[in-house]
Symmetry: C2
């Protein structure tokens, strides 16, 4: 298999984009990535777009070729991939596979979601389709409920405190306050999190990400030709993509997402690195407790030690493993289909040394994207030269 590098990245601001449709949002992110790479349209040989629920939210399907056509691409195979909130992690993964295997030299990958033009109840219902419509979700268990149960179980099983979970939100909102593309750019205090509106006990408002619009993109090429486009390629050294049970009732341990554990194992093995080699990570904090679970599932800390880790500052910008310097989903926003590649966007900026919250001397970065109740996860490891 050939080496694969990221040579261009793009990301729209996340938030409420009035009057801009999902196709135009995706086109903006793609154009930014192609310009960043200096890659002309005719070099792009395939396009993968991650999107979760545009058919349900904005009545737009067939999104991959529609975006590609408006971008001026012609003839090439265009595919939308869906894995709930991990959709664009999967899109990025397919860019890698197409190049590593020798099928294409240059691939454009993107993610997009347009959520704010729908009623909140419509969004909640659409997101709930990431669970099992015939069992848990039919009974009224939407995702705040799912992660409320996971949080309660983590607290019971490991003695994780309510305050430790809230500290994830405090950290990520502080990080996000420096990110001009974040939906929320305002820090919050521990008390504000703990006293915010109850959503689903024990989850409160500031434990949840906002409903956002946004798009993200990355241009990938074979490492052997990256020099044609940039003098600062970022190499993809590990990629994992795995499944797990998609419901709480099928999970063997409510505090562990098997899909993340398996995808991480594959990515670490491919990269030939261990968790302690990672300098910076963007993980899927769709709720504050999810960051704690991810910190453990990725092997950054022992199982059950994710709460103390955030309390001790290990995951802060100056900690041993800085997590979500972008602000994560909690501050940056979570336009679900765009999230996976927005994580890649941040990691590439970190490794280029141009991030807002730059982690000192970051050499190796990791991005972890999760879909549904852990039905799917992708893990990618990137490295600067």
């Amino acid at each position: 298999m050939r080496g694969v590098s990221v040579v261009g990245i793009g990301c729209t601001p996340f938030g409420k984009h009035n009057g801009i449709g999902i196709i135009e949002l995706a086109v903006q992110a793609c154009r930014e990535a192609l310009n960043d790479a200096g890659v002309p349209n005719e070099r792009v040989k395939a396009f993968y777009l991650g999107n979760f629920v545009s058919e349900a939210l904005v009545h737009q399907g067939s999104l991959a070729p529609m975006v590609a056509y408006r971008l001026g691409l012609r003839e090439i195979p265009c595919t939308k991939v869906e894995g709930a909130c991990a959709s664009s992690g999967i899109a990025f993964r397919h860019g890698i596979l197409m190049i590593a295997s020798g099928i294409c030299d240059v691939v454009l990958t993107a993610g997009a979601e347009k959520m704010t033009s729908s009623e909140t109840t419509t969004v909640t219902e659409a997101l709930a389709s990431a669970g099992d419509a015939e069992s848990e979700m039919r009974l009224g268990l939407t995702f705040p409920g799912t992660f409320g149960i996971i949080m309660r179980r983590h607290m019971y099983q490991y003695g994780t405190t309510r305050e430790q979970v809230a500290m994830v939100s405090v950290k990520n909102r502080r990080n996000g306050s420096a990110n001009p593309k974040a939906h929320f750019q305002k820090a919050v205090t521990l008390d504000e999190v703990l006293e915010s509106r109850l959503i689903c006990d024990p989850l409160r408002l500031y434990d949840c990400p906002p409903i956002s619009d946004g798009a993200s993109a990355a241009v990938l090429c074979a490492t052997e030709i990256a020099g044609e486009f940039t003098d600062r390629p970022i190499d993809v050294i590990g990629s994992g993509h795995a499944m797990g049970p998609g419901t709480l009732f099928e999970m063997t341990d409510l505090t562990t997402f098997e899909a993340t554990v398996i995808a991480a194992r594959e990515a670490y093995r491919g990269a030939g690195v261990s968790p302690s080699d990672i300098d910076v990570a963007e993980v899927h904090d769709c709720f504050s407790i999810a960051e704690i679970a991810a910190t453990e599932d990725l092997g950054f800390v022992e199982k059950g030690k994710g709460g103390p880790a955030v309390e001790q500052g290990l995951t802060a910008l100056d900690g041993s493993i800085p997590i979500n310097p972008s602000g994560g989903l909690l501050a940056k926003g979570h336009p679900v289909g765009a999230t996976g590649l927005a994580q890649i966007y941040e990691i590439v900026r970190q490794l280029r040394g141009e991030a807002m919250n730059q982690v000192r001397d970051a050499q190796i970065g990791l991005a972890q994207n999760l879909g549904g109740t852990g039905a799917v996860s992708t893990v990618h490891i990137l490295k600067r030269r």
Copy 2:
């Protein structure tokens, strides 16, 4: 690139499946394909599922890992791909790519859609998301309207007669009358088509496919190991996947789908065959006129000669290029995400010599799947040993 073979196929009956959800439908088709192949779960290294709008129709997203988990698969990467009505053509294509490139040895591909549990207006709206939500579809142009315009243009441009177009329906309904898995198993006369209820002038009811539930699947493996599973593998010798404009206003010729032309060119080149070498074809007759356009776009007849071809019987079971021996979408039904792999199911049965409407001495078969207003198309060419 390595050779790829189909070693197992499965397909549920198409029609109204009361009390069976989309996950279970897909599981049934997958299990049939795995049993047909004699492939145990642990040999399957990736799963691709084609589905268009399950989030909007049955509130079920994250479908690929959910189906895989219920099927008993574990750990492997599972991806839903979407390209409107070409979704499972794209799933099949990705099975081929993963094996040809050496990434996996065995891949399961499937397609599924559950449509009959929704109101017809909901289905029409969901299907309309395959067009451009912000332009044509917003103005009320749903797909019967789109193909009504295409039909009118074909009649104007080439002198195609109303009767010739109706003969597609007569032929396909006759073929479907022998197919125990078809939604409609009753032949219709020319007069019945011409006098059926007007849907969108000049399109009438029998020019349209029914709204159906169904699922389909195929197991693919590297040709070099196909002998482990079967003594009658069917080889994939050509694969094309291309984009085109997704709206009428962006098309340069309303009677030609560029995506089909380009995908066909890629598939024929890869296979080293020409249209005259094809013994049997399943093409995307989402409306009767679409079969005529496909017959031309695939090069079976000259542009504009698709109408006379059906009138002269060239596309009948005993014609020079038998088209849609399964009954096509018009008779078999069109559970959109399942259609592409249901075409593969029929072509494999033809090449194995076990089809209901067996084409004599069929050696090489072709399947063409179309999404939206031609935004995407896949073309696959299969060959028996």
